[in-house]
Amino acid sequence: MESTLASRVPRTVFYRVRSSVITFARVRPWHTFWGVVSLAIVIVSFGGPLVLPLDPLSADYDYLGSPPSAEYWTGTDLLGRDVTSRLVYGGGVSLFIAGASLLLGTIIGAVWGVVSGYLGGKTDLLSERFIEILLSLPGLILAYLMILVFGDGFLQLILALAITRVGAVERVVRSVALSVKQTMYVEAARSIGTSEMRIIWRHVFPQCGAVLIVLLTMNIGGIIITEASLSFLGLGIAPPTPTWGKMLGESTRQTFVPIWWMVAYPGLLITLTVLSFNIFGDGLRDALDPRLRGTM
């Protein structure tokens, strides 16, 4: 019913979204500000490489590891590559990996959680044991081991990071599914003989929407840091593609003393990105579902 209405009058959906965005901005200016910052970071990271004058991969042999100057605003790395270009380009790579793995992990966790929570019984019991085992390794260590075995590469990294999200998302979504299952309208749907599949997708799953949006914004910070830590430890995608974590790793690998312009900027950008997404996520959580306060 909902979807046919929306397709007949698409503008109502647009107006509804617009009015909630305006309300959010008016009630929570602080969170909106950080939301705009995170949006700006995303736009610059993905759009920047199109307009940047310097190639992040080409080396300038006259400026090997030179400090910030008029020519190179944030200096060059030990191979003479422009740090600014690498920061922007690497930001795009980092955010893409974080976003893709987050999306993949959340989808797997959400589907798993809804099905397990709704079906209950033996299936649920078994799946909870499985999730418990999945959660028995700290996320970073699990991803670390998987990348070691899978080898370096975009796809491997995304997959490994995604799996670290599955357990936590499953737990939250399952608890929502458990409570939705008790509601009258689900009982009504079942009493008129709706199939299990249809109840799960059309009646239970939509109720998890708010939780999923909140989970996505709140977890992006953690996954960016995990990705950065892995890259810092020398795992992740193969050189010469930069990511923020890899730039930090490169800053210490060749020299005893870290080089300050290679340390400061990538870390600052990671911090700023995670900070803005976290604050925005906090606001979004309070606006969409205050009950989640304290669980995340």
Binding site: L135, Y144, L145, L233, V257, N278, G294
Partner: protein
Amino acid sequence: MQKYVVRRLLLAVPTLIGLTVMIFAIMRVLPGDPLVAYLDPNQMVSMSEAELDAIRKDHGLDRPLVVQYADWMGDVLNGSFGNAMFGAKAPVINTIKTRGVTSAEIGIIAVAISWIIGLPVGIISAVRPGSFLDMFTSFTTVLFLAIPGFWLALLILLATVTYWGYAPPRVGVPLWEDPWNHFQIVIFPATVMGVAMAAIIARMARSSLFEVLREDYVRTARSKGIRESVTVIRHALPNALMPVLTLSGVMLGFALGGSVAVEVAFQTPGLGRSMSDAAILRDMTTVQSLVLVYGIVFVLANLLVDLLYGWIDPRIRLG
């Protein structure tokens, strides 16, 4: 209480067994050649099939999976955790003993720091919501949650080396031989991790104490004329600490994982650096066993949190 402890302990056993199976499955069963982990990819391409088979045989990868798993479990159960693949081929347990002590100390000091800083900060901002102090501490905690630990480590290293020409020692000595040297190794990573964990605790303590302070029984305490400080600390705080305790499990995973990168950044001779060094050498026996150690520590720490929870709250242990 005893019954509860026994039940929780028994429940941890299947999880631990599952953990070993999962690690083994990631290493051997998942699609892909397990040799990828043992060899440099570039090296692998240039080798012939016969050479690869020889290496497989060398590492015992040609045996049936069940035998390989049983072999590893045998090593774990007899306490050697397998032998390192390179160097002196010493049992991995030696590394775990010498390096593990350092990491454990770091962890304990970090937890202590986090509670000592985090709890008062959380209480102060919950008692005066909306004040400047509250807004300041709220922002600081969110900020520290966003700073990657290993980056903070690099910054500290950079500052001490540039301004004081000082770097923490890289070679570990046992605590009882040279306490000062040992202290210098441990204190930096412990502080970095402690501060990050303090942020989580402060945040959680604030929001949970904030809720509890609005409960009826707190109002009753106040109306009886009990001093505000006693009301907050004796009446409200114990209840407010429960969610904080629940969160410590999640926090531990965060800290254990993060400690690897922090140890590598400081070049601390701890478990995390051993794992990273072993991974660079592609010594998969060591990596596999060290990952297991991290898993065991994580599971046991979570168990401890559960037991503590049951000890404090009778509803949990009897329910």
